[in-house]
């Protein structure tokens, strides 16, 4: 409160202040004590009028009273409106027209805000006013919330987050049909989302992307006014460093919706000869930055890769490239476009390929890369543009071996085409011209063409440069060394040292090339041991030490004068270990080094800031310790293999490999065991299969012989059937044979008869031969006899056939009879059994009869004894006996 008192006593006139304070006091009293709404309303209106001029007074005295009004008079829109406006004036730090410049007040709004938000309910109260559709309530509420947010952002964000549906209610404001509320809501949301990931996500969840992009489109995209700018700022707020929202943006296909915003309208350029409006430039900048936010190298890699893919697919990259080649684009927009293209293609092969294929609309058409490089080595181009081109070139070569080889190829003598300008020519030209910045850009560009690519490092060794007439050509490597030793600007020296370090690292052949010129090592030594203390010279010395170290590390001992151990000796004796270490470590301590190591993007504002390259800092970080170890190592230098950073490394590697071998062996054993077992099962299965096949064949054969397929499920019965059929068949055959035999015997009998007769005739003939006269007659007779005999025989034959047939019939008959007989026999058996039982019964009856006879006899006798006549019964007995005899005969 002391503060406020001071304020009151400060520059303003004493009388005015007191009178103002008095008025405020009186008004406050009226608001709190009056029972009539109209009175209160008038008082609040008056307070509002005073709140700008007597900000402190109103703030200190009226706050609680006005809060009461907000709570109790909320049904009257007018009074609420005045109260909200009053708060707004008290909190706002914006200088007003009436404000007679009192800059000390800037902190005042924050202090009042702090008091206001001490009770979070006060904020909920404001949020509840948003439900009110009345413009006079809703609009001041939005303005007041915005001011509160800009004064105490963090605190208010937390309060709003906790209020149920707080963020959602603010989001709903974007749908308000009154533009002024919607536009102010954009400002409010900008404040609300700044630096608060969770609120950003909720806002995105409430369809913010869709609504904002719709507004941008409705407002005329980049041609639109400041509302578009606010929209783009909000989009960036929602997406920057928020992976979840970036993912949502991509998944919601919003990247595709950005695309139309990048299509340049030719008519626009034509209609405005003075170039783009300032607002359009700003909008375009923000639009480009939005794209960069999505593909920033600092994002998680999978996220960036996914977005890059979408941007190529939907044609956004193509549109960006056409902006690159379009005319009339302001330089700073062009620069940002180049930076954007860089990050869209960085590390993404298809995008890099597309970029390589882009042609500039020049005559003859040249690759866009070449045109861009021309700007890079051109002193007259703006510095930031040249930086952007280098960044673009680096991004094109990042993880792109094909691109690297394409660039190096243009330097090699075979590909030399005198008529066209190539990337290689431009880079070589840039490397050796008088502009140190061109030297630096070109050297770094070349470094990126060979980085992590040993093949291209060796290829680059083949490059020869033509010098002045009459002198033999000189290699690019040697030319770099010559330039280095000739002195020149520090930037040039640093650039050359960076490319040499990158070139020689991990490339023993390049090292031996470098060492073969005897002047090189002494130069480096002299540099490292010099004691100049200039800031930049220290860097040069450190880099020279680094280069020496690399010469040692990747030395294959091919150059006798400078073998590994010789170099070590030289370093230790001529420079001294401590000095060497000192120089080397100073590089990484340099402010420029840490700056460059932060991110790949070149965000330099001034040419003097250009010292280190991002990729080089990575190389340095990787090898610094190796170099120090190699130089200070007490162990045998020969133990270090060429190209190897140290024994320990190899030991670790060996151990790792050993472990790997062990693991692999174990794996192999397991696999072998597995394979043998599986072989076994395979052979078993083969046997089974064979068996099944055999069975199958057998069944097929059976099926064929049987003619009719046996019904399924009755595998045993068919064979039995077959068996019985066979037996029957055999029996039939036997019968047939018997019949045959019978036939034969019969025919033989006949034949016997025939032959006997014919022999008789023959005999007769023989006997009759002597009696010649009769012989002819006899012959005739004999002949007729023979004829009759043959006819007889024929008839006999016929009879025989008939007999045979009869025989067959008889056989059939016999079989039938046999069957009948069998049936009869069965019947007979049954009858016999019946008879048996009947006989038994009869016997029993006979026995009974006999008993009764005996009884009757005894009774008769008794009766006789008693003197009675008993004659009739005898006849009956006889009859019965006869009947029984007849029955017995029938049964037989």
């Amino acid at each position: 409160m002391d503060y406020f008192r001071n304020m009151l006593g400060a520059p303003q006139g004493e009388t005015q202040a007191t009178s103002g304070a008095d008025t405020v006091e009186r008004l406050c009293e009226r608001v709190s004590s009056s029972t009539l709404l109209d009175d209160r309303r008038d008082a609040v209106r008056a307070l509002k009028a005073l709140s700008k001029k007597f900000r402190v007074e109103v703030g200190t005295q009226a706050m609680d009273i006005l809060l009461n009004v907000l709570e109790q008079d909320r049904n009257d829109a007018e009074i609420i409106s005045y109260a909200l406006d009053t708060f707004y004036h008290v909190m706002s730090n914006e200088p007003t027209d009436e404000d007679d410049a009192t800059p000390v007040n800037t902190d005042l709004g924050c202090q009042f805000t702090e008091i206001y938000i001490k009770r979070p309910e006060n904020v909920s109260l404001l949020l509840s006013f948003l439900e009110e559709y009345d413009f006079h309530v809703r609009w001041p509420t939005v303005k007041l919330l915005t001011v509160l947010l800009s004064n105490k952002q963090k605190e208010l964000q937390e309060i709003i987050l906790v209020v149920p549906m707080g963020v959602s209610r603010l989001m709903d404001l974007l749908s308000d049909s009154r533009e002024i509320i919607r536009n102010d809501a954009l400002l409010l949301l900008n404040q609300l989302t700044k630096g608060h990931g969770n609120i950003q996500k909720i806002v995105a969840f409430e369809n913010a992307f869709e609504r904002i992009i719709d507004i941008i489109r409705d407002e005329g995209a980049t041609d639109g006014g400041i509302v578009v700018e606010d929209c783009l700022l909000l989009l960036q707020n929602l997406l920057r460093n928020n992976t979840s929202n970036q993912n949502f943006f991509k998944e919601g296909s919003y990247i595709q919706k950005l695309k139309p915003f990048f299509q340049l309208d030719d008519e626009y350029a034509a209609s405005r000869q003075g170039g783009w409006s300032a607002q359009k430039v700003t909008n375009m900048h923000l639009m480009l930055q939005l794209v960069r936010t999505l593909v920033s190298p600092n994002n998680p890699q999978n996220q960036t890769v996914a977005c890059q893919k979408v941007m190529n697919h939907c044609g956004l990259l193509q549109d960006l490239c056409s902006i690159l080649m379009a005319t009339g684009v302001p330089a700073d927009v062009l620069t940002e476009t180049i930076n954007t293209v860089s990050e869209v293609i960085r590390g993404s092969q298809p995008n890099q390929e597309y970029f390589a294929s882009v042609l500039a609309p020049s005559n003859p058409p040249r690759p866009a890369i070449v045109v861009l490089l021309m700007s890079m080595v051109n002193e007259k181009q703006p510095f930031v543009l040249r930086c952007a081109v280098l960044y673009c070139f680096q991004s094109f070569l990042y993880k792109n071996e094909v691109g690297q080889s394409q660039i190096i190829q243009t330097l090699l003598p075979t590909a030399a085409d005198a008529n066209s300008i190539t990337a290689g020519q431009l880079l070589c030209g840039g490397l050796f011209n008088v502009d140190p910045l061109s030297n630096w850009f070109s050297a770094v560009a070349l470094l990126h063409a060979i980085v992590e690519n040993p093949t291209q490092k060796e290829q680059l060794l083949r490059v020869q440069l033509a010098t002045s007439l009459g002198n033999p050509p000189v290699s690019l490597l040697q030319q770099c060394c010559n330039m280095l030793s000739q002195g020149g600007k520090v930037q040039t020296k640093i650039a050359l040292l960076m490319i040499l370090c990158g070139w020689l690292a991990d490339c023993p052949i390049a090292v031996s090339h470098f060492l073969s010129n005897t002047a090189n090592v002494p130069y480096l030594i002299s540099q490292v041991s010099s004691s100049e203390a200039d800031d930049h010279e220290v860097i040069v010395q450190g880099l020279c030490a680094f280069l020496l170290g690399i010469c040692m590390l990747y030395n294959n001992d091919a150059t006798e004068a400078f073998t590994k151990s010789a170099l070590k000796q030289v370093i230790q004796n001529r420079i001294g270990l401590e000095s060497f270490t000192d120089k080397l470590t100073q590089v990484a301590q340099n402010e420029n080094y840490t700056r460059a190591a932060k991110k790949p993007h070149l965000y330099h504002k001034h040419p003097n800031e250009i010292v280190f390259d991002y990729e080089f800092t990575r190389l340095f970080k990787m090898l610094e310790n190796e170099v120090l170890k190699a130089v200070s190592g007490t162990g045998s230098v020969n133990g270090r293999l060429p190209g190897g950073p140290g024994i320990d490394h190899y030991k670790a590697l060996l151990k790792e490999q050993e472990d790997q071998v062990l693991a692999l062996r174990k794996n192999l054993e397991e696999m072998q065991a597995f394979s043998s077992s599986s072989e076994r099962t395979v052979s078993e299965l083969k046997v089974q299969v064979q068996q099944l096949k055999d069975q199958n064949a057998l069944l097929k054969a059976q099926k064929a012989t049987q003619g009719t397929p046996p019904p399924a499920g009755t595998n045993s019965s068919p064979s039995e059937e077959v068996e019985t059929l066979r037996r029957e068949l055999d029996a039939m055959r036997l019968q047939l044979q018997n019949k045959d035999a019978q036939l034969v015997s019969m025919t033989s009998k006949e034949n016997n008869v025939n032959t006997a007769e014919s022999s008789k005739i023959q005999d007769g003939l023989n006997t009759e031969k002597p009696q010649e006269p009769d012989s002819a007659v006899r012959l005739q007779e004999a002949e007729s006899k023979l004829a009759s005999i043959t006819s007889e025989r024929d008839s006999l034959n016929e009879r025989l056939i008939k007999a045979n047939e009869e025989n067959l019939k008889l056989a059939n008959g016999k079989r039938v009879i046999e069957d009948e007989k069998a049936g009869l026999a069965k019947e007979h058996q049954e009858l016999k059994e019946e008879m048996e039982t009947l006989k038994k019964e009869q016997d029993d009856l006979l026995v009974l009869l006999a008993d009764q006879d005996a009884k009757i006899e005894s009774y008769k006798n008794r009766l006789k004894d008693l003197g009675q006549q008993v004659d009739d019964d005898d006849d009956d007995d006889d009859d019965l006996e006869e009947d029984e005899d007849n029955d017995g005969a029938d049964a037989d």
Binding site: L161, K201, F205, F248, K257
Partner: protein
């Protein structure tokens, strides 16, 4: 990629019941055994097909910890479906379902489809909550129920798809107002004429149609 409908889901439930793992299994088809605490809310998306129609699912996986409750509440209103997850090996996560359900019902729109999920069904040996209990709870409160395993992927696909089917059915029945995006449903950009027959709600669909 065009789609017929877009549904917004949220996943809720106690901390450590496997909400993020369910999402990861559904979107990336992989399982992460280490519990990585969700801060606030994370987003995931996938396309599915129902009834021959492409449906895009946008899923917000919320933090289960009490301290994030105020944040996660903001997501109820705009969601068409919610997966309410408990851990079958931890009785307390089942006991808290009532609180979760009350919270959800209070802040969401009344038509939101809620699917109850008993996760970690692969850990049968450590089971503390019987399947029947889950079924009974679901029946009592009118939820769909399923036991899943984010580790083995058992029923994970089904859980998300069945929820979508239920929402789809509600759209067909005219329960949802598909022209109000606050319900968590959006009609896809109608590129192909075949999609136009999808306007179940009558003349709607303008919101999605004006892209590009």
């Amino acid at each position: 990629m065009s789609y017929a409908y877009l549904f917004k889901y949220i996943i809720i439930g106690d901390t450590g019941v496997g909400k993020s793992c369910l999402l990861l299994q559904f979107t990336d088809k992989r399982f992460q055994p280490v519990h990585d605490l969700t801060i606030g809310v994370e987003f995931g998306a996938r396309m599915i097909t129902i009834d021959g129609k492409q449906i895009k699912l946008q899923i917000w996986d919320t933090a289960g910890q009490e301290s994030f409750r105020s944040i996660t509440r903001s997501y109820y209103r705009g969601a068409a479906g919610a997966l309410l997850v408990y851990d079958i090996t931890r009785r307390d996560t089942f006991n808290h379902l009532t609180t979760w359900l009350e919270d959800a019902r209070q802040h969401s729109n009344s038509n939101m489809v809620i699917m109850l999920i008993g996760n970690k069904s692969d850990l049968e040996a450590r089971r503390e909550v019987k399947k029947e209990e889950g079924e009974a709870f679901a029946r009592e409160h009118g939820l769909i129920f399923m036991e899943t395993s984010a580790k083995t992927a058992a029923n994970v696909e089904e859980a998300f798809i069945n929820t979508a089917k239920e929402i789809y059915q509600k759209i067909q029945d005219g329960v949802f107002d598909i022209n109000n995006e606050a319900n968590g449903i959006k009609i896809g950009p109608q590129h192909s004429p075949a999609n136009q027959s999808l306007n179940v709600g009558g003349s709607g669909g303008n919101q999605g149609g004006n892209c590009c």
